[in-house]
């Protein structure tokens, strides 16, 4: 059993980390009332920038390259997400439409520029990706140490820590209270003197930053290069995690970890004696079926922030 956990948990963690980060972005955006199905595109942008930056500056920055890369990816994706904010907050565009456009645009730009800059559809592999580490001291703890603190990406911890930070920000600070108010009842927030548009801009930009972080972490821990197929569906899985987690940062983290576990189990399944004779197809679809069952069985109904998806137009009702 411990052995299984030892192999499941670290893998689940690296699989989940990009999803957690991106889903946190989704939580911020949707909590402020802006539906964000553009998460996929934001991840694409993050992956693209993270890889390109890493390839370009690894000689200069050395071991710091991956860290600076994800930072730059965050910033660029945050800027990129302003398009979504402008369309859906200022121009009152349908937020779903704008999100779809973000997805197409990011992939288009990413691959187009890759072809322009590298003359081919995919980049080389980066020389400075993230590597796993053992946490000093903690990894020595018997049992737990080997499960949670050995051979783990720092970025996975970062994701988990950020989930708690997001929870803190959303539920403990004035900023979070205001942001949630804007997503529930923008007019009430407005009459309380809160600038609805500004809050929504900030939230969308945060989702851009976190989505970019998620995408670049994916690229620098898992894919190592960028092409049209680097990010295929992870953004949608992150969106699913947002909803699965009931628009709560810790919920979204839990959902993303659940996906990671399920994927990891489906791979490891063939080594577990009990599951050895199960045809592979069932293991393959198990993560998705399990998600549906979990939702239907005990997670149940989840209510979105009430003003989610609705542009706020001053003076209308």
């Amino acid at each position: 059993m411990i052995e299984i956990l030892q192999s499941v948990i670290p893998t689940a963690l690296f699989y989940s980390a990009p999803l957690i980060l991106t889903a946190l972005g989704g939580v911020f955006s949707e909590r402020s009332g802006v539906v964000n199905i553009g998460l996929e595109g934001l991840m694409v942008m993050g992956a693209f920038v993270g890889i390109v930056f890493n390839l370009t500056f690894s000689d200069v920055l050395g071991a710091w390259t991956p860290w600076v890369s994800i930072l730059v990816a965050m910033v660029v994706s945050a800027i990129f997400s302003i398009i979504h904010a402008v369309a859906s907050v200022s121009f009152h565009a349908s937020q779903v439409v704008s999100g779809v456009a973000i997805n197409m645009l990011a992939l288009g730009i990413g691959v187009y520029l890759t072809k322009q800059w590298y003359g081919k559809g995919q980049t080389d592999m980066v020389a400075q990706p993230f590597y796993t580490t053992d946490i000093p001291l903690l990894s020595k703890i018997p049992v737990i140490g080997s499960i949670f603190f050995q051979g783990i990406y720092i970025t996975s911890y970062l994701a988990i820590i950020l989930a708690f930070v997001a929870w803190f920000v959303l539920y403990k600070t004035p900023f979070g209270l205001r942001l949630r108010a804007v997503g529930e009842h923008p007019m009430a927030a407005d009459t309380n003197g809160i600038n609805v548009s500004r809050m929504r801009y900030i939230a969308v930009i945060l989702s851009g930053a976190l989505g970019g972080l998620g995408g670049s972490v994916f690229a620098l821990t898992i894919a190592s290069n960028f092409s049209h197929s680097t990010i295929v569906g992870q953004g949608f899985m992150a969106l699913a995690a947002v909803i699965f987690g009931k628009w709560h940062p810790l919920g979204a983290m839990g959902a993303a970890l659940f996906f990671g576990f399920a994927q990891s189990l489906s791979v490891i399944g063939s080594n577990i004696p009990l599951l050895q004779d199960v045809p592979q197809i069932f293991l393959l679809i198990a993560p998705y079926v399990l998600t549906i069952l979990a939702l239907a069985g005990f997670i149940g109904r989840a209510d979105a922030p009430r003003a989610n998806g609705e542009p706020y137009i001053k003076g209308s009702r």
Binding site: L177, R178, E184, T191, G193, K314
Partner: protein, 512 residues
């Protein structure tokens, strides 16, 4: 004389309509100033201008004699102007405290919201003005009255000394209204000034010092309340004579239409709210259900109309059992329902008026044949209803959303009455309407009665109950605890009964 607020010659246009046309209103310090006008006269618009939600095209606002340019609610807050909106501006999943401090949160050094301090501040203010609230309750869990107190606390918390109340009493029970009046008086005592919008002339007479009347966007004038009466106010506002007491003949009850036996209904939190209720209703009579909000009225209506499951008991319509039948079955058996919440239940706001008129009949001839809609028939019907019920709308193709509340209500009533149901359930049918519209709706209900239909009227307005009903059933704690006739009772007695005091010997004789 110094005014705290002066709005001079305000003009505000919306596309195609002048909502405020050269209106002036001046508020003296320490007064309660009423703003009166028909539905859609432009009261809310004027106050929204004052609160910084709208920018006027013309005119000037002076605060304590100084010209002010109020471009957003923040500025209004800073100038000490607070507003309790007609539709509450509360974030439902938040607690009372969170709603009050929102936008002005006290923080600790760490940047965390200082909940303890917020709670203490709120307690202080609420004690001072007698505004009882539970600071940790969620808005979605508290009564409308408490929600309103939260709204008031919100403005006081921000240090407002001019308070605008936009129709605060429309959604309150009589008890809550009395409490509110008390609160307003104590606010004045503390040196605040108040602008009160209400359609209830009695309230104006009771608490207000002066009253500004507007009609169709134009200022009619300001009167001293002490030197006027309700009749004069009403005719100033509507431009004609208004009858408060609806004329009606003695009821002639016929066969039993509705029988309810031992009905038990739970609310959405699985608590019994209707606890073995019995009631009988005959054709040709209007039975008013009087009761304090939350005593099971809503659940009773929902059980009758099939919107909520009854746990036990029986509901019979003309000897047909309709207990736990689907809403469609109930409707088809001859029940009409004017719902309490017109936006939630009564209308599909994004449908046109025409489409809303056939909301329960679209699948029947002539509105559709073999599942194909006949829009010509639908809109013809709608035309005739908006004409008969004086629904003011640009056209039958206009979305219901664009209509004023009063006109939305008239459309619903038109729709329900026009189906000519044997039983018409009217829940708070005149909430938020001006006196003219109320008069009209009361007339329609009585007309139905005179056609031999049974009408069940649920209202928190004792006036309305006493004025319209032929028989009054008092509902308390999920049961009908007394039945009286309007002639034999008084508001005081009803009030006592509604509060659950024992039925007196003499009254039980009144039960038929």
């Amino acid at each position: 004389m110094e005014y705290v607020i002066e709005m001079l010659n305000i003009r505000k246009e919306f596309p195609g309509i002048v909502a405020n046309d050269n209106i002036t209103i001046q508020l003296k310090p320490g007064e309660i100033h009423a703003l009166l006008g028909e539905n859609g006269a432009g009261k809310s618009t004027l106050m929204n201008v004052l609160f910084g939600l709208y920018q006027p095209e013309q005119g000037e606002i002076r605060v304590k004699g100084k010209k002010a340019n109020i471009t957003n609610p923040n500025i209004a807050n800073d100038l000490g102007i607070g507003m309790v909106h007609q539709h509450f501006m509360l974030v439902e999943p938040f607690t009372v405290t969170q709603n009050i401090v929102l936008g002005n949160e006290p923080t600790k050094k760490t940047g965390v919201i200082n909940v303890e301090k917020a709670r203490k501040d709120i307690k202080e203010i609420s004690d001072r003005y007698g505004l009882k609230v539970d600071p940790d309750a969620k808005i979605s869990d508290i009564s409308v009255g408490m929600q309103q107190r939260v709204e008031i606390l919100k403005t006081l918390y921000r240090g407002a000394d001019v308070l605008i109340f936009d129709e605060p009493t429309a959604v309150l029970t009589p008890q809550e209204i009395n409490e509110l009046m008390e609160i307003m008086r104590s606010l004045i005592k503390e040196g605040k000034s108040i602008i009160l919008i209400t359609h209830k002339l009695k309230e104006i007479m009771e608490v207000c010092d002066r009253c500004t009347v507007i009609r169709k966007g134009k200022g009619i004038g300001t009167v001293n309340v002490a030197q006027t009466n309700t009749n004069e106010l009403a005719s100033l506002m509507v431009g004609r004579e208004v009858h408060f007491k609806t004329e009606k003949q003695q009821a002639e009850p016929k066969d039993t239409v509705l029988t309810i036996e031992n009905l038990v209904v739970k609310d959405s939190r699985k608590v019994d709210l209707v606890k073995g209720l019995n009631l009988e209703l005959r054709g040709g009579e209007i039975v008013g259900i009087a009761g304090v909000d939350g005593n099971g009225q809503s659940e009773l209506i929902e059980a009758i109309t099939g919107l909520r499951q009854a746990v036990s008991g029986r509901i019979k319509l003309k000897n047909k059992n309709i207990t736990n039948k689907s809403p469609r079955k109930v409707t088809e058996s001859g029940v009409g329902h004017i719902p309490q919440d017109r936006h939630r239940f009564g209308l599909v706001l994004d449908y046109s008026i025409g489409e809303n008129i056939v909301l329960q009949t679209y699948y029947k001839k002539p509105y559709s044949k073999a599942k194909v809609l006949n829009y010509k028939a639908i809109y013809e019907k709608a035309e005739s209803i908006i004409k008969e019920y004086d629904v003011r709308t640009p056209s039958v193709y206009t979305k219901a959303r664009a209509l004023s509340g009063g006109n939305q209500q008239k459309a619903i009533i038109g729709r329900e009455v026009d189906r000519s149901p044997d039983l018409l359930i009217a829940a708070q049918p005149t909430r938020g309407l001006d006196v003219g519209a109320i008069e009209f709706i009361h007339k329609k209900l009585i007309e139905e009665r005179d056609k031999g239909k049974a009408v069940l009227l649920i209202s928190f307005e004792l006036d309305e109950i006493l004025n319209v009903s032929d028989r009054i059933a008092v509902m308390f704690d999920g049961k009908i605890v007394a039945e009286v006739t309007p002639e034999e009772t008084t508001e005081q007695e009803l009030g006592l009964l509604m509060a659950g005091s024992q039925v007196k010997e003499g009254d039980s004789n009144a039960i038929q």
